[in-house]
């Protein structure tokens, strides 16, 4: 029998290529690591090729972009200047915008991205500029990309259109060249200036340890060292061990207790006070709770993150 999967994968493998570039790229400008940005220009040959899995995702991205833009056209939007290249000589910056969408007399830069349900959930609830704080390194780069296109196009507005790969639900994140977004765009340009200085001197910036270092194409070729941190504390405290053992013993009972409590609550909700076998009394009282029904856009303005501590207790594997 013919093996379709092997054939497709062999085709994907043939598409895996490196694209050396002499300039900074808008799509990479948001990368945290300056060493990566300089090395990409000076020593692209030292960057490991991406794997088959990532190639499948890249290919899907290209196809998805086509599909979404065609959908926009079907929905009546005027899409122009697809894949228009940009160059900003002062910053040695180039890029290729997905498209521009007509809004009255204005043409707004538009980037189209497909994302996993997991990333989509995160993106959906973050304000546009907050994507730079995403847990996913590739998501953190999106705002810089659209903001640079907006600067190069002298357009005060820009849109990133995300599509959930599972539900096909779209959301749009709107960017304006003002406030925090403008400050961020300026910080990116300053970073590119530093990168250009290093490139001119043909030097690599010192390596910095970032959380996503190990997945970088230069890790193991240009960045060889890694510090795994201070390590855990190993203590020999019998009392703490006893407490933890006790927590383990009680956990099933706690779960059973919660289940029974929920069962009783559901059984007697809204019923008059009930006495059970002259032993127990169950009351169900109505009370009023104050809630604040705030529209999402207003709630978002008052959202802030505070630091907290969470303690997880995990048991190491049982010995046999």
């Amino acid at each position: 029998m013919i093996n379709i999967v092997a054939g497709i994968d062999a085709w994907y493998e043939r598409q895996i290529k490196a694209y050396p570039h002499p300039n900074n790229r808008a799509s990479e400008a948001g990368h945290q690591c300056e060493r990566f940005l300089v090395a990409s220009r000076l020593q692209p040959e030292m960057k490991r090729l991406h794997d088959l899995g990532l190639q499948r995702i890249f290919y899907d991205g290209v196809e998805r972009e086509e599909k979404i833009l065609s959908l926009c056209k079907k929905a009546g939007f005027v899409i122009r200047e697809q894949q228009r290249p940009f160059e900003w000589k002062e910053f040695h910056l180039t890029g290729r915008i997905d498209a521009k969408v007509e809004d009255g007399e204005n043409l707004i830069p538009l980037e189209v991205k497909g994302c996993s349900p997991n990333s989509f959930r995160e993106i959906e609830h973050l304000p546009p500029i907050e994507l730079i704080k995403s847990k996913k390194p590739w998501v953190r780069r999106y705002p810089a990309q659209i903001l640079l296109y907006m600067l190069m196009d002298e357009s005060p507005e820009g849109i990133i259109l995300f599509e959930n790969k599972l539900t096909i639900k779209p959301i749009q994140k709107e960017y304006y060249l003002e406030g925090e977004a403008l400050d961020y765009a300026e910080s990116i340009l300053k970073k590119l200036e530093r990168v250009n200085d290093y490139v001119a001197r043909k030097e690599l910036p010192p390596a910095s340890q970032l959380e996503d270092c190990t997945s970088c194409g230069f890790f193991g070729t240009l960045c060889l060292e890694q510090d795994f941190g201070e390590g855990f504390d190993f203590i020999d405290d019998e009392a703490v061990e006893k407490d933890l053992d006790r927590i383990e013993e009680l956990t099933p009972a706690k779960e059973e207790c919660n289940t029974l409590y929920e069962k009783i609550k559901a059984m007697f909700k809204g019923k008059p006070t009930t006495i059970i076998r002259s032993k127990w009394c169950i009351e169900s009282k109505k009370y009023k709770r104050t809630i604040f029904d705030i529209p999402d856009d207003i709630k978002m303005k008052f959202t802030k993150k505070i630091e907290c501590w969470k303690t997880n207790i995990k048991k190491l594997k049982e010995e046999h």
Binding site: G7, P22, E45, Q226, G229, G231, F232, L316, E319, H320
Partner: protein, 291 residues
């Protein structure tokens, strides 16, 4: 009178040391104590080994011909609790030759130190351009320009990390029994054989009517060839310690255009030109072009 003989060595008075302080040497450790010390250390390392395995899960292990092998994911998990720092890492290239010609051997060497164990180990990892995983596919060796050198260097680096961290944490020669004792479910371990996939033949093409004539060369093939030539130039840079960006600049000076817009002929000529030059002359020329 007896004649003085010149063939005899003059004798000097022997000095005998009698000072007890000079004569005293460190008392030898009784053999029982020395053995006890070694046994204690063995128990200690056994405990570390046991604990390390507990930080992993079955998917961090594979069986190679029935012997457990800890993969990179597992090594990384174990390095964190023991505060491992890998430093003084250097990469060097050596050359060897076989019936297919000259090939590079990449060697990564360095140190791993554990803050928790206060122990350090030096080691090295190696990978060559003859590594089957990267250079051999579908029953044949790949041409040099199709091999991703950066991946080979990375493998040497990964090999170094795995070796040095495993040695540091006494994780060499793990048996199935030890995994089982530390709570690893052996049934979840996969048994791998690297040779099988690489020896496969190319996937068969769907059967159909054979073409009547050879189709003309499409632009796609030309692009592929361009990519290949560019790959060769990249390799050339790496081998001769030249910076790709500078070589690209020289190309720009010579051909008045970027690599990306190069024709196949230009790339071929340029590759031949680079290979015909001595690296030191080329470096001078590049410096002039980029000045």
């Amino acid at each position: 009178m007896q004649e003085k003989r010149n063939d005899l060595v003059p004798v000097s008075e022997e000095v005998i040391v009698t000072d007890p302080e000079i004569l005293s040497v460190e008392k030898p450790i009784p053999i029982e104590e020395a053995i006890k010390g070694i046994e204690d250390k063995l128990v200690y390392f056994q405990k570390i080994k046991h604990l390390c395995i507990k930080f992993t899960n079955p998917f961090d292990w594979v069986l190679q011909k029935g012997v457990p092998y800890l993969m990179e994911s597992g090594t990384q998990k174990i390095a964190i609790p023991f505060g491992v720092n890998v430093d003084n890492v250097e990469m060097r290239t050596e050359w060897a030759e076989d019936e297919r010609g000259r090939y590079a051997i990449y060697i990564v060497k360095g140190r791993a130190y554990s803050r928790k164990l206060n122990r350090e180990v030096w080691d090295e990892g190696v990978c060559t351009e003859r590594d089957k995983f990267f250079a051999f596919a579908y029953g044949q060796w790949k041409p040099k320009y199709e091999i991703d050198i950066a991946s080979i260097i990375k493998k040497a680096h990964t090999n170094f990390y795995n070796r040095v961290i495993k040695r540091l944490l006494a994780l060499t020669s793990i048996t199935k029994e030890e995994l089982k004792q530390a709570g690893i479910d052996l049934s979840k371990l996969s048994d791998i054989d690297y040779s099988s996939k690489k020896d496969e033949k190319l996937p068969s093409k769907p059967k159909g009517r054979p073409p009547k004539e050879v189709p003309p060369k499409r632009p796609f093939d030309e692009d592929k060839e361009k990519e290949a030539k560019r790959g060769q130039i990249m390799d050339f840079c790496k081998i001769n310690n030249l910076i790709y960006a500078e070589v690209a600049q020289l190309f720009k000076v010579k051909y008045k255009r970027e690599f990306a817009n190069a024709s196949l002929d230009q790339l071929l000529n340029y590759k031949d030109y680079l290979q015909g030059q001595k690296p030191e002359d080329l470096r001078k020329e590049i410096a002039e072009a980029t000045a």
